[in-house]
């Protein structure tokens, strides 16, 4: 507890340091204090997972409502997630912010943003929860609009602020329902409140919509692909890596802890499962069509939040149908993916930041060949790409494998409809995983392999030691979490113990310390070290067979089918890579694609070809924009009413008086 508060205080100090100091001292103080804050959070999270819950009432806040903080298993785990990414990002920022002139805004709002996330995780009453939640939302707005000179950044920031407030409002509504039932803002009384099924559903729906909006679940994700790319990369790493996770935390806290697993209804789980599956597939499909590197990563965040929700939704279903052990497995799978996604998505954004830093562009169509110029960055990026594609031996595989294991238990649910829905959602998850792998083949191939497509990229240089170190830490963590789930899953075991009253610890080790066997030894087990050893053996054999001793690699000119004047733009690029999938999923993507050919004399003598492609987000087109237009129209009508004369005003007053008399008299 002391450590957790220490992390908060370090973040606060960082805000002071970042705001008032100047020059390189400002940057160093900011990054050092944030790093310390992250380390403290890691230690506090570890300690909290191993110890019993501790509560504390702080002499802060409103006179009749002091702040309550509590560190339990769930809060500890998310502290750990925050700390695990915050520390490397702080190290990375030391290098990344070197050439930034105006640090004041970043110096104040980055630590406040971090403080907000700590506060949300630690809060033990609705008032401090909302206070820190808003602190997090508002300070991240200032970070999104850090480069506010560009109008599109301001627009993205505005949409982000709007959606964040909408989410805040919905969450507030959910707390209001719980407050009415429990009679107090403290979580203790909300936990013990008796809820009727109707009000429990209302609270759940409000919370799901609110946290879903903030977490970027389709179709409420409209703000996310705009806001993440425009923020500075170290901020995007934190926003995508942790802030979305804090929304997941809020959802778990409200649904599992406050509303309680006893109140679950079957359709809640189905709803979460459906939202998760559609987000996963939708996110990755649109990610494939992006050629802005950071925007692509932002769409992948939608996909991964979907995967987390699939785990949680399965767990809700299983908990409702009386399989707490399997529910615990689903919960662990979802939360495991939470920390995994924080690590590899943070790493990917840092890598994208390094590329942006070196080449000055986010457009993949002008990159290429960076593996020769930035070998370390490309190695770390490759690690993260393998992790996010859910390939062993890295961490993404473990959590998706656990999710699949849970989904395979669907026949135990009993209800015929549900046994049909769950495999469908597992199939969606498999599809999303395959498409994600395709997408990262595209990213890595286009950005790092081949030849440079522009002058700026050709002149790119490797980033400095701080940034390399900042990326090395999460890459190592990805490997460790992938290799040693047997050690990490028992550490997380405190969460299902607290929320579901069951423990997985005894089952995990059933087959010895090397094998992770989540359900039953006879069903499935996975051992990452063995898998890694097998992969290394096969890879080594293949290498040995393909490159026998004594032969040297021969390099020659590229065979061009006889065409003269090869140039870098003739390479297979991001748009061409995604073309087959664009064709297959044309019904969903609805691409706006035109090819303009210019042939002055004959069709065979083509002079110029222009290819125009635009893939619009259907959620923005069919959901966000109509709602926005509706609100604007309403505002226009009200404005016209405002413009009318005094008679109209009097008539409105009169009508109001009559109405009030009729209603209340």
């Amino acid at each position: 507890m002391i450590l957790a508060l220490g992390a908060c205080i370090a973040a606060l100090l960082a805000a002071v340091g970042g705001g008032f100091l100047r020059g390189s001292l400002q940057r160093t103080a900011l990054c050092l204090l944030l790093g310390v804050s992250g380390l403290l959070a890691i230690v506090a999270g570890m300690a909290g997972l191993l110890e019993n819950p501790a509560t504390l009432t702080l002499p802060l806040g409103l006179p009749w409502l002091p702040m309550h903080v509590r560190i339990d298993a769930l809060a500890s785990f998310f502290l750990l997630v925050i700390g695990a990414l915050l520390t490397p990002v702080a190290v990375y920022s030391q290098g990344y912010l070197r050439h930034e002139r105006r640090l004041a805004a970043m110096g104040v709002f980055l630590p406040l943003f971090v403080l907000g996330m700590f506060g949300v995780v630690l809060a033990d009453d609705a008032f401090s929860f909302m206070l820190f939640w808003e602190l997090m939302s508002v300070s991240s707005y200032f970070l999104v609009t850090f480069e506010h000179e560009q109008p599109e950044n301001r627009k993205a920031g505005f949409i982000y602020l709007l959606m964040a407030h909408l989410a805040g409002l919905l969450i507030l509504g959910s707390f209001a329902v719980l407050y009415a039932a429990g009679g107090s803002f403290e979580f203790v009384s909300m936990r013990n409140a008796e809820l009727t099924p109707f009000w429990a559903s209302v609270a759940f729906l409000l919370a799901a919509l609110g946290f879903g909006t903030k977490a970027g679940v389709a179709p409420m994700h409209g703000w996310l692909p705009d806001a993440h790319p425009v923020a500075p990369s170290n901020v995007s790493a934190l926003m995508s890596g942790i802030m979305l996770k804090v929304a997941i935390f809020g959802f778990v806290r409200l649904a599992w802890d406050l509303i309680g697993t006893a109140n679950f209804q079957w359709w809640w789980g189905v709803l979460v499962l459906a939202a998760g599956s559609s987000s996963a597939v939708f996110g990755v499909l649109f990610a494939l069509q992006q050629h802005d590197l950071k925007r692509l990563l932002a769409y992948h965040s939608i996909e991964n939040v979907g995967i987390i929700l699939i785990g949680l939704g399965l767990s809700m279903l299983l908990a409702h149908f009386g399989h707490p052990l399997l529910a615990a497995l689903g919960l662990i799978a979802g939360l495991y993916h939470t920390i995994n996604h924080a690590l590899f998505k943070g790493l990917l954004f840092m890598g994208a930041g390094a590329v942006l830093h070196a080449s000055g562009t986010r457009d993949m169509e002008s990159m290429g060949g960076l593996i020769h110029r930035m070998p370390a960055t490309s190695l770390f990026f490759l690690v993260a790409s393998i992790s996010i594609s859910a390939l062993p031996p890295f961490n993404g595989f473990v959590s998706e494998w656990l999710t699949f294991q849970t989904a395979l238990m669907a026949p135990q649910l009993g209800a015929a409809l549900l046994t049909a829905i769950v495999p469908f959602s597992a199939a969606m998850l498999a599809l999303a995983g395959a498409l994600a792998a395709a997408c990262f083949v595209k990213v890595f191939g286009v950005v790092f392999l081949g030849h440079a497509r522009s002058e700026a990229v050709a002149g790119a240089r490797e980033v400095d030691g701080w940034m390399k170190l900042g990326m090395a830490i999460p890459a190592l963590c990805c490997l460790l979490l992938g290799l040693l789930p047997v050690l990490f899953v028992p550490l997380m075991d405190a969460i299902p113990r607290a929320l579901l009253d069951v423990s997985l610890a005894g089952h995990v080790h059933a087959h010895g310390w090397l094998w992770l066997s989540p359900v039953d030894v006879s069903r499935a087990s996975y051992s990452a070290p063995v898998a890694l050893a097998g992969m290394l053996a096969i890879g080594g054999l293949a290498f040995w067979w393909l490159h026998p001793k004594g032969t040297t690699v021969r390099r020659g000119p590229i065979w061009s089918c006889g065409t003269p004047n090869l140039n870098a733009r003739m390479q297979y690029n991001a748009t061409s890579f995604s073309q087959p999938l664009r064709r297959i999923f044309g019904g969903v993507l609805q691409p706006d694609e035109h090819v303009h050919m210019e042939y002055p004399a004959h069709k065979l003598l083509t002079k110029k070809v222009r290819h125009v492609l635009h893939v619009a987000d259907p959620a923005v087109r069919h959901l966000h924009r109509p709602i926005g237009d509706f609100v604007l129209n309403l505002a226009r009508i009200v404005q016209q009413e405002h413009q009318r004369g005094i008679h109209a005003y009097l008539a409105w007053t009169f009508a109001t008086v009559l109405l009030l008399l009729a209603v209340f008299a």
Partner: protein, 225 residues
């Protein structure tokens, strides 16, 4: 005179009050609007005198006298002077035609009687039956403000609302304390004077006393800017 008779008289005066409110709405000419406004003031004074007699609250005589002077004589004279000075068009110029206005007024009166019913059942006062009429008169005054085009008719409507409120005060609580009443009386007087000043100002600024003209001119000015 016995209480029953006093109550009969007060009820009769209240009915007259409602009638006058209707006739205020029904007038075509500016001057007759003023006449009926003066009549309303007189009726108010007489009612308050009868209530003073019936309840034995003697300070109500003072307020009756003040009402007579102020609302029966001074305010109508002030408004008459404004009309003369400014050469206001003699027609009332309604926004909604008179027949429709009267129908709406009828509906509003029925509505007021309907909503006052629960209050009348619990009240023990001499004047309890007049409550519904007072409410109806307030609403009719507002209706007058809405449906008339000229600023002066709106002021008359406003003053009629004030009269009706005064009537309601007499009806529901046997009159307010004298100090309060004197205060209100002066407020109304000052309001009337300020309105008068405004009329001159508005006329010199907008060349018209029609409210729509002010609005149109403001919009034009905004567009020019």
């Amino acid at each position: 005179m016995n209480t029953a008779l006093i109550q009969q008289i007060i009820d009769g005066l209240a009915a007259l009050m409602l009638l006058v409110s209707f006739s205020l709405l029904a007038q075509h000419r500016m001057l007759s609007v003023l006449h009926w406004f003066a009549v309303q003031g007189w009726l108010l004074a007489i009612t308050s005198a009868f209530v003073a007699y019936g309840t034995g609250h003697h300070e109500l005589y003072v307020s009756a006298a003040m009402t007579l002077l102020l609302k029966g004589l001074l305010l109508p004279w002030l408004l008459w002077r404004v009309i003369k000075r400014l050469h206001v068009h003699r027609e009332v110029e309604p926004l909604v035609n008179l027949t429709l206005t009267m129908l709406i007024a009828l509906g509003i009166t029925l509505f007021s009687f309907h909503i006052i019913q629960p209050i009348e059942k619990i009240s023990q006062l001499l004047t309890r039956d007049s409550m519904a009429i007072a409410t109806a008169c307030v609403l009719l005054g507002m209706l007058m403000m809405i449906t008339r085009r000229k600023a002066i008719t709106q002021v008359v409507g406003f003053l009629a609302v004030e009269n009706a409120l005064f009537f309601a005060a007499i009806g529901s609580t046997n009159g307010m304390p004298l100090v309060v009443e004197i205060g209100i009386a002066f407020d109304v007087l000052i309001a009337a004077l300020i309105f008068g000043l405004f009329f001159f100002q508005i006329r010199t600024t907008f060349d018209s006393l029609e409210v729509d003209a002010m609005h149109a001119s403001l919009v034009e000015r905004e567009e020019e800017e």
